[in-house]
């Protein structure tokens, strides 16, 4: 409501953001298919979608623009580094996810911001 009384046509912005974000996601999907030189239905599975949601939440997508990028980097690192030691890396990754959602919903970006604030003060 506060955006409306400041003169913004809110539904238009929401619609534009939706269209833009889906266009970017579509572009990413097309590039992914080109890189893999294949496209299978399993890339649209619930499993894959769940990973994306976890990346966004762990990174701090609710609180920061760059959070999802951090979350994606963290996922790749966890998969490649942790996965080299144990086959159950997803279990540990899931526990980190639960811990972050419970104790730091702002994610990695929020943890970084808190650390910076602490150093500054």
């Amino acid at each position: 409501m506060r955006a409306r009384f400041l003169g913004y046509r809110v539904w238009w912005f929401k619609f534009s953001v939706f269209v833009l974000s889906t266009a970017i996601a579509g572009l990413a999907g097309a590039l992914f298919a080109m890189a893999q030189q294949s496209a299978y239905p399993n890339v649209m599975s619930l499993h894959q979608s769940g990973f994306v949601v976890m990346m966004v939440l762990i990174g701090g997508g609710l609180a920061s623009f760059w959070g999802p990028l951090l979350g994606a980097a963290f996922f790749i690192l966890a998969r490649d580094l942790l996965g080299a030691y144990t086959e159950t890396w997803l279990l540990w990754y899931g526990l980190v996810f639960i811990a972050i959602v419970l104790w730091k919903p702002e994610g990695l970006a929020g943890i970084g911001r808190s650390l910076v604030d602490r150093v500054r003060s």
């Binding site: 409501m1 506060r2 409306r4 009384f5 400041l6 003169g7 913004y8 046509r9 809110v10």
Partner: protein, 234 residues
């Protein structure tokens, strides 16, 4: 010149009548007060003006244009700004950012951030701070400044003195007086009757959704009998 006119506004919430035949009008650069007990329909009147609670019947004209049926953002772009009772700033944004996103062009004069800082000197050092860390008085300064950078011809103040220290209330009221001198009209809804009587040109008294009395503020200021009769004040 008549800047604002509301005529025969009606609004119901279910069986409950919240506005009944409400009419008011005022000129450019005037300060108008709406007073009355809780539930009288004061805030609903302001919300009706902004299109947030559209009336069932009636007509509202601002700056010569009928605004009934227009969406809120279009009404705001005509030069109407709102200072809500709960401030409604964006808490995670800085003061400077809150003011920046509220800038818009209308046919009225837009205040710059520097001018706002001149009106509220304390605002200068608050600009880089996030709004979630501000006190009630500081938030009110931001809320009023946000209204001013939106180039208003009319500012709607909903309970501007609510929860503020007397000194801050004084600053807010002197700002409304200053706006009047600059040709910006104000419509003020406030429980603080004496303060409204001090700054207003005309007041409307509402009870149970109806305007029961309208008079120049000076008349109520100077006439203890009328004050006691209409407002229950000595």
């Amino acid at each position: 010149m008549v800047l604002f006119e509301a005529r025969n506004l009606h609004k119901r919430f279910g069986d409950r009548v919240v506005l009944e035949d409400v009419s008011l009008a005022f000129d450019v650069g005037t300060t108008t007060g709406i007073m009355g007990p809780n539930g009288a329909g004061k805030t609903t009147t302001l919300r009706a003006v902004l299109g947030l609670t559209p009336p069932r019947d009636g007509r509202i004209a601002f700056d010569g244009r009928d605004v009934i049926g227009l969406p809120t953002h279009e009404i705001a772009r005509l030069g109407l700004s709102w200072v809500p009772d709960d401030r409604r700033v964006f808490p995670s944004l800085t003061v400077a950012r809150n003011l920046e996103i509220a800038r818009k062009a209308t046919r009225f004069r837009r205040y710059s951030v520097d001018e706002c800082c001149e009106i509220f000197p304390a605002l200068t050092h608050l600009l880089p701070r996030e709004c979630e860390n501000l006190s009630g008085g500081e938030l009110q300064m931001v809320s009023i400044s946000r209204a001013l950078v939106g180039a208003p011809g009319l500012v709607l103040f909903d309970e501007p003195s609510q929860g503020l220290a007397p000194k801050v209330v004084q600053d807010v009221m002197s700002t409304i007086t200053r706006l009047k001198a600059a040709g910006v009209a104000s419509l003020v809804v406030d429980q603080n009757i004496r303060t409204v009587l001090d700054i207003a040109d005309r007041v409307f008294i509402m009870q149970l959704g109806r305007i029961v009395h309208s008079a120049p503020a000076a008349e109520l200021r100077d006439d203890a009998g009328a004050r006691a009769h209409w407002l229950g004040l000595d």
